[in-house]
Symmetry: C2
Subunit: 337 residues, 2 copies
C-alpha cells in the first residue's frame, strides 16, 4: 500500500492513500464548485438535501474516474468537469432513493437524508437530482453520452428492483454478480469511459477504460460486502452486519452457504428470516463466514477483479493519468471503510 | 355540451363527450400498443406497475394533445406515436411518486400502486418510467425535444416539493397558480407543442399550441380542484374533500378564505390542522365555499382559461385537428369526474 499522504484539499473523504488523486486535485475542486453551483433550485428542500449529501465526505471516486479517463482524449476542461459532476449527481440520486428503500437510518456516519427530511421530500429530491444530471448531460449536445447515461440509470434502478424481489432469499453467486454489475460496476464503467468518449478516443481504447472501470467497480462492491462482515463500525460510518439483516446475501455469505452443512446454512437463513441478530449473534455469523472459507473466497475474487482492472490498462499509452488509474485497484482492495 | 357518443375503442376512460377524439382513434390505439411494448423491463415489478397504471382507464388526454398538435406539422407517424407515449409515461411516473408522497390509498377508483406494491417498489418503478420516457425521447435524436422534457419534469418535481413545503398553510391565489402551472399546465403545454415542434412547425405557431395547452391545463386543474368539493365520490373514483384534508388549499378554498370573516377562516384552518373532518364536517366546508362565492369565482376563472385556450387556436389554419382541439376546453369545463 502506498504511503498515506493526507489529501490537502476540501475532500476529507478522499482519505489516506488517495494522494493518488493529487494530479487531478484542481479538477476535483472545480467539480465541487460545479456541484455546488448546479445543485440549487427553486425548491429549498432539493437544494438542502443536495448540499447535505455533498458535504458528507464521499470519496468522489466516480468523478475521479471521469477526470482521469478524460485525459486519454482531447476532452475540453469544461466538459470533463461537467461529466464528473454528472456521475456524482447520479450517484447521489441513487443514494437518496436507496436509503428510502432500505429505510436506512445512517449514511457515512450521519443521519441519512430520509431520516432527516422524510421519505416524501427524498423521493422528489432524488427525482430532481436525476433530472438535473440529465440536464447537465444535455448541455454537452452529445447523443452517445445521453444514451450511456440513460441506459446506466435504468440498469441501476432495475438492479434495485431485482434486489427487492430477492430479499430474504438464498441467491447464487451468478445472481449476485448480475446484481452488483447493475448496482455498482456499471456506474464505475460509464464513469471511466465518459470523458474519453466525449473527447473522441477510438472505440477500442474507450473499451479498455470501460473494462477497467467495470472490474474496479466489481472489486469495490465485493470489498464493500466483505467490510460489512469485518469492518469497525465507527470507521465504516454505519452498522456492520447490515446486508444479511436486510435479507441481502452477498458474496461472503453466498460462498459460506455453498460450503456449509445444513445446520450452518440454517443459521444464515435464520438471520435473514429474523431481520436481525436476536436469535443468532452477529459474532457467530462472522465465525461462520470465516471458518467456511466464504470470506477468503470473496477476498480472492475481489483481488482477481482488481488484477483484471489493472490488465485492462496495459495497452493504453503510458501517462501520469494511466499511472493514477493503475493504483486505484490496490487502494480499493486495501480500504478499510 | 356535444352529444355523448361512447368511444368505441379500448379506452373506457375517454368516456362521454370525448367522441371528439374519434379522428385520432387509430393513433390512440397505436399509442396503447407502444406503451404496452415499451413499458416492459427485466424487473417484473416495474413492468407490472406500468401495466396496472395503463389499464386504469386514464383519459389519455395528454397523448391526444400530442397527436392532434403533430397534425399541424409534417410529423412522421412513428414520431407522433412515440411522443404521445412519452408524455403518458411521464404522467404515469409522476402519479406513482405523487401517490407515495400523498400516501394515497386509491387512484381512479382502484387501490393506488403504492397501496398494492408498497412504497419501495413504487419509488423505483417511478424512476424507471421517467428514464424509459427519456430513453424513448432520445430515440428521436432531437435536442429541442429533450430540453423541453427535462425542463418539464424538473418543474413538475419542484412543484411537488413546493407543495410539500406549503402543506397546512394558507396560500395566496398567486402561489397556487404557480403551483398548478408546474403540476399540471406545463405537461399539457409541452404535450400540445411537442408533435408540432418535432414536425418543424414555425416557432410562432408552436407557441400558439403551447398557449392553448397551458390554458387548457390550468382550466383542467381548476376543475379538478372544484370537483374535490362538488363531485360524487363514486363517479370521481376517489374520496372528495381530499385536498383540504391533506392541507392543500386550492382555488375554491383560497377565494372562500379571502372573502370570509375570521370565524369562517378558522373553519378552513381547522380542517387543515386536523387533517380530517372530525371536528368540522365536510358538508360545512362545502356550504362555506359555496356561500362565500369561492366556488363560483374558481369556476369563472376556469372558464376564462378555457376561453383563452380557444382563442390561442384562432390564428392557426382551420383543419379537423384544430376543430378537435377547439372542443376540448368545453369538455374539460363540463366534466364531472
Amino acid at each position: 500500500m502506498p504511503p498515506a499522504i493526507p489529501y490537502p484539499g476540501p475532500h476529507p473523504g478522499l482519505g489516506a492513500g488517495l494522494d493518488v488523486l493529487l494530479p487531478i486535485r484542481e479538477d476535483l475542486d472545480l467539480v465541487e464548485a460545479e456541484l455546488a453551483r448546479r445543485c440549487a433550485c427553486d425548491a429549498p428542500a432539493a437544494t438542502e438535501i443536495g448540499e447535505y449529501l455533498r458535504q458528507s465526505g464521499g470519496k468522489r471516486i466516480r468523478p475521479a474516474l471521469v477526470l482521469l479517463g478524460a485525459r486519454f482524449a482531447d476532452c475540453a476542461p469544461t466538459t470533463r468537469i461537467r461529466l464528473a459532476a454528472i456521475v456524482e449527481m447520479i450517484h447521489a440520486a441513487t443514494l437518496v432513493h436507496d436509503d428510502i428503500i432500505d429505510a436506512a437510518a445512517t449514511r457515512r456516519g450521519r443521519p441519512s437524508a430520509n431520516a432527516r427530511w422524510g421519505n416524501q421530500k427524498c423521493v422528489l429530491a432524488g427525482d430532481w437530482l436525476y433530472m438535473q444530471a440529465f440536464r447537465l448531460a444535455l448541455e454537452e449536445r452529445h447523443f452517445g453520452i445521453l444514451d450511456a447515461l440513460i441506459a446506466l440509470t435504468q440498469k441501476m434502478v432495475e438492479g434495485e428492483l431485482l434486489q427487492l424481489d430477492r430479499l430474504g432469499r438464498v441467491v447464487t453467486a451468478a445472481e449476485h454478480l448480475d446484481l452488483i454489475e447493475r448496482k455498482t460496476a456499471r456506474l464505475f464503467e460509464v464513469s471511466s469511459q465518459l470523458g474519453a468518449m466525449a473527447g473522441g478516443l477510438p472505440a477500442d481504447a474507450v473499451d479498455r477504460l470501460s473494462q477497467f472501470g467495470r472490474h474496479l467497480g466489481l472489486a469495490f462492491q465485493m470489498v464493500d460486502d466483505i467490510l460489512d462482515f469485518t469492518a469497525d463500525e465507527r470507521q465504516l460510518g454505519k452498522p456492520v452486519g447490515n446486508d444479511l439483516r436486510e435479507g441481502k446475501m452477498t458474496l461472503p455469505a453466498i460462498y459460506a452457504y455453498e460450503a456449509s452443512a445444513p445446520a450452518a446454512r440454517a443459521v444464515l437463513e435464520q438471520v435473514m428470516r429474523d431481520g436481525g441478530y436476536g436469535q443468532v449473534p452477529f459474532a457467530e455469523v462472522q465465525r461462520l463466514v470465516e471458518a467456511s472459507g466464504g470470506l477468503e473466497r470473496a477476498r480472492a475474487e475481489s483481488r482477481e477483479h482488481a488484477r483484471w482492472a489493472g490488465q485492462a490498462l496495459e495497452t493504453l499509452p503510458p501517462s501520469p493519468w494511466r499511472d493514477a488509474l493503475a493504483r486505484l485497484p490496490e487502494l480499493v482492495i486495501e480500504r478499510s471503510a
